[in-house]
């Protein structure tokens, strides 16, 4: 997702240090002869740095020499860089990538596989490929507090349909006019809320409104770092109202050998949205370095054998 977060600059500074540290110390390369050099880039927000490190370190463990260009910029910077071969790989988000490469034609939908397939039709002529999308998503999501979840035993958005008229929805002021927000919840899920409270898009107002009970349902991003800390639970988008912004590696075809593809797909297959929330929390709230967080994740999931 292409957006700017409040803590970007602080984290940018930390991640820049991390990059320098990685360049000096060198990430683990168990084999002595390199299988080749792969340059991994990330967008200018912390989650992208983490994902770039996770994919990059998996490749490094497999014997590739990996260069990192973290916090490279927005998609407007990263896409030309991979087209021209200055970078070889970046962690993308299926629906957002598709709508970028098709110039906003509106082809993305809630199905990750279909969206990625469509994305590949646009990428192939550029010498690029999107691999298998991960289950991990960073997209608009609707959250409730743990108390609300327990009270109505909620797990997915369609659980809200019968009780919507008892709940207040909070989101940015644009929500009542956006298809992914209130109108979508109404038409796709048949949820009619008691009221709508204009707050901010996933910011401090929304958190405060959850805290003092002004709202029961609020718009957040599914991989927000503070979801656990704020005691919020994302309801599953079981009817696929939101576009599938699943994490998907975008890679140059010349680099995407079957071995590289296998390594990257293995990482994607293990990654979940909960992992993203945890790792984002470690980087954005606990101020750990993205490369250390990524290494710990791979270690924990027995990626290094």
């Amino acid at each position: 997702m292409n957006r700017i977060r409040g803590s970007v600059w602080l984290v940018a500074a930390l991640a820049a240090l991390a990059t320098v540290a990685a360049a000096c110390g060198g990430t683990s390369t168990p084999t002595t002869t390199s299988k080749g050099t792969i340059t991994v880039a990330g967008f200018n927000f912390p989650e992208s740095s983490i994902l770039a490190e996770v994919y990059g370190q998996a490749l490094a463990h497999d014997g590739y020499t990996v260069n990192y260009k973290l916090l490279l910029g927005t998609r407007e910077v990263v896409a030309p860089a991979i087209k021209s071969g200055q970078i070889d790989l970046y962690p993308g988000y299926a629906a957002t990538e598709l709508e970028f490469y098709n110039s906003g034609a509106g082809e993305a939908n809630g199905d990750a596989a279909a969206t990625t397939a469509k994305l590949n039709t646009h990428l192939s002529s550029l010498g690029l490929a999107a691999l298998t999308p991960s289950a991990a998503v960073d997209q608009n999501a609707f959250a409730v507090t743990k108390a609300t979840q327990a009270k109505y035993s909620l797990s997915k958005l369609s659980d809200l349909t019968p009780i919507g008229d008892q709940l207040v929805l909070g989101a940015g002021p644009e929500c009542p006019t956006r298809p992914f927000c209130q109108p979508g919840l109404q038409s796709t899920y048949g949820i009619h809320f008691k009221a709508f409270k204009a707050l901010d898009t996933d910011g401090p107002l929304t958190r405060a409104a959850f805290k003092n009970g002004t709202i029961q349902v609020g718009l957040v991003f599914s991989s927000d770092a503070d979801l656990n800390q704020a005691g919020l639970v994302v309801l599953q988008d079981d009817k696929h109202l939101e576009n599938a912004d699943n994490v998907v590696p975008v890679v140059r075809q010349t680099v995407a050998t079957s071995e590289v593809t296998t390594v990257l797909n293995k990482v994607s297959a293990g990654l979940t949205t909960a992992d993203l929330v945890t790792m984002n929390g470690q980087v954005e709230l606990l101020h750990q370095d993205a490369d250390a967080v990524a290494a710990a994740y791979l270690q924990q999931h027995n990626f290094f054998g």
Partner: protein
């Protein structure tokens, strides 16, 4: 269709005149926030200004502190107060009260200082005690300037209360913030227009109140020069 035509259309749409987001509801919210803030501000500012002005002490301090108050942006107070008090009307009223205080302190201080010393002497000579002199002689003479301060405060507060919408508050600012977010520029324009009209209405109605409060003698003083009653000053 021009933006003006869209704004006219927005105002004539009956759905904009009812419900929780209707103009009457937003008007009540806006007036309530403003009135509470100005009242609270007056409760703090007027006693300070009047007492200091009456005794003629700490004048530079009072005006200096007030002027520093003017320099602190309401938006900054709003955001900080939101961090402290969380969601609700408290941070909004706090920010607006801080905005309301300085003109009222300055004006009431100056108003009391500007009362003719000869008049005060006369009052004392006639046996008025301190309090009676303040209430029955100085305050009536100070009304025009004190009211001017209240009016300035109220108009500033009404105009600034639109900021409330930035921290999820109500009032006409809702239309401005929501219109911007929804790219509904007619709504945004309508919100700005409503704030401006309400500020003007505040000015006019407080001017009316002032006319009722000003003593007849002073009203005569304000008459055209030819018809003016001249007071005699000794040496």
């Amino acid at each position: 269709m021009s933006i003006l035509a869209k704004v006219v259309q927005w105002f004539t749409d009956p759905t904009h005149w009812q419900g929780a987001d209707g103009i009457p509801t937003r008007l009540v919210e806006h007036v309530q926030l403003s009135a509470e803030s100005v009242a609270l501000g007056a409760l703090i500012a007027l006693p300070i200004g009047i007492v200091l002005g009456h005794f003629g002490i700490f004048g530079n301090l009072a005006i200096g502190v007030s002027n520093v108050g003017r320099a602190v942006p309401s938006f900054a107070i709003l955001v900080i107060a939101f961090q402290v008090f969380g969601l609700g009307d408290t941070p909004i009223i706090l920010a607006l009260t801080a905005l309301a205080i300085p003109p009222m302190v300055t004006n009431s201080y100056v108003a009391l200082r500007e009362v003719d010393p000869d008049v005060k002497d006369a009052a004392r000579g006639m046996g008025y005690r301190q309090l009676a002199q303040l209430v029955r002689v100085e305050l009536p003479l100070a009304v025009p300037l004190i009211m001017a301060g209240i009016r300035t405060s109220a108009v500033q507060v009404v105009a600034t209360a639109a900021l409330a919408a930035l921290i999820a508050g109500g009032g006409f600012g809702r239309y401005i913030i929501d219109g911007l977010a929804q790219q509904d520029y007619a709504k945004e324009f309508a919100g700005a227009l409503l704030v401006a009209v309400l500020a003007l209405a505040t000015e006019v109605s407080l001017w009316g109140v002032e006319q009722l409060l000003v003593p007849r003698g002073i009203r005569l003083l304000r008459a055209p020069a030819g018809a003016r009653v001249r007071t005699f000053k000794t040496a």
